[in-house]
Amino acid sequence: MSENAAKTENYLNVKHTVASWLFTVDHKRIGVMYLATILLFFFLGGVAAVLFRIELMTPTEMFMASETYNRLFTMHGITMIFFFLIPSIPAVLGNFLLPIMLGARDLAFPRLNLASWYVFTFGGLLGLGAIIFGGVDTGWTFYTPYSSTYANSNVILAALGIFVSGFASIMTGLNFIVTIHKMRAPGLTWFRLPLFVWAHYATSIIIVLGTPVIAITILLVAVERIFSVGIFDPALGGDPVLFQHLFWFYSHPAVYIMILPGMGVVSEIIACFSRKRIFGYHIVAMSSLAIAILGFFVWGHHMFVSSQSMYAGMIFSILSFLVAIPSAIKVFNWVATLYGGSIKLDTPMLYALGFIGLFTIGGLTGLFLATMAVNVHVHDTYFIVAHFHYVMVGGMVMAFFGGLHFWWPKITGKLFPEMLGRITAIIIFIGFNLTFFPQFIVGYLGMPRRYHVYPEEFQLLHVMSTGGAAVLALGYMLMGVYLLYSLILGPKASSNPWKAAGLEWTTPSPPPTENFLEPPVVKHEAYAYTEEDTYRDDAETKGDTHG
């Protein structure tokens, strides 16, 4: 290969056949394949949301029966959580960036990585099958004994889809843990790792420890449904609350599977667009691990009105308050990073700032819900719906799009229209708040979730919410259009268009198949934005290179 060819060849143009994508073991290509797959599910989940938001504009039945409504919100929940949010940042940005940030050529197990995409896609197809054959009406939580005994819909098929896609998560999590331990570049000590890597390390621990439990639980639902073995159905001698324990043992930590990678992305963006190292780097890194561990102790706060013992409820309530500490540590440290920084309000930064504000609202309302008495009042109301959308959409989706814009030039080698990006970020921010803030009010006033017929006095708030959803959808479509435009006609990106620190910006955009033209050696900490940081006496960042 001539020297010139080596300079222009990258992971995208090295081969063009379909087979070269389907059989690739390049983490970057697999990340891009994941991106295409999860965006399809994001679209499907979004369509379901638009349909039921239109229905909710009137207090009476407009164009869909209750059964259809139940199936639509279930489809929205299952596709968005299991097939979009959980894999979103780890499987797309994590897959693409983690090895590059570590100075490695690929993940530790490239074939396992490809297998994870196939397993995920197969699981997704099973979920899609459940929708095509008539849908599921249990809600994404599959509560028993309704799901295991009475539901007259495709519960088993959807459950199987989630069961299978869980294995893809485990494969990715294992791959990340081993890669971070074993494949860091020379000089890249633990405390020189970007916070994105720390966040993915913590996420991977949750995935590996938690996902098997949901897999077994869902399998038990199928066993009870098919063989009538009494596990969760009291009529058969089972206990329905046991299902909730097992389900939330995974599904609450799953919230942190969804939000921790987002926090990693935000740390990278805040540092770059403030031109400063992250304030309190060590404590922010450790708070990721603290969230991962504490997140496993709090699941009972979903069950305060389930007939769970009041004493267990009290323990879970106290433990839930503890999770707020590491989360608040992150928020305060990001704000401290902004203080005195040379702030530039480019598109990724707008999403990151949106994340901080919206996640804070989502997190603080979580404290209301961790308080047993308040929880009884707002349990299963729109207040909950608003709370978790502030965390999941206001937090995670904002971070995902922030990250997608931040690393878009690296992934595609193209620039996107910056002004359109900023306008879209603002449209999405406004649309999001218009959609979900009224839901806090309507929930506090007592409107339960999962009903499409409701008292007339709630209509105005629901119309606002639907209007907001339309603005949000407009924002997403606009983003889709300009990113496609950028992909085809966008100007070429340099290797480091944001002038960001970090190993991924030292390699060409898009990176070559082997990631680096020369194997990198790391000589300073992750956020060397000032001369002082670059030449800082790195006593605090020195340590074992491997382990």
Binding site: L209, L246, G300, M303, Q308, S309
Partner: protein, 104 residues
């Protein structure tokens, strides 16, 4: 032991001993089931099952001969399993503590 150690091959005698121990514990489980120990029925059965799992993890899954990081990984799974049981049982064990109020 280093991370890159050759795969350890345990003598056949070890496997036979482990097999014998598992058999004895299985017989013990069946034997104990003949007696009504009240609330301890489950406790005894789960304790024996846990000991059996421990032996399988240590010998059949070769954790005993593995690097410290493998110990840590296996222990994490074990601890998390105990955590799940403990907090779930915190509910089941204390549900009856509060009397159900009489209807008005």
């Amino acid at each position: 032991m280093s991370d890159h150690a050759e795969p350890h091959i345990a003598p056949l005698k070890t496997y036979l001993n482990v097999f014998a121990a598992l058999m004895v514990l299985t017989v013990l489980t069946v034997w104990v089931a003949l007696f009504d120990l009240g609330p301890f029925n489950v406790v005894v059965a789960v304790t024996i099952a846990t000991v059996k799992a421990y032996i399988v993890i240590l010998y059949f899954m070769h954790v005993k001969y593995s690097a410290k990081i493998i110990w840590l990984t296996a222990a994490a799974g074990f601890v998390w399993f105990i955590l799940m049981l403990a907090l779930t049982l915190a509910d089941f064990a204390t549900r009856g503590w509060l009397p159900i109020p009489e209807p008005w």
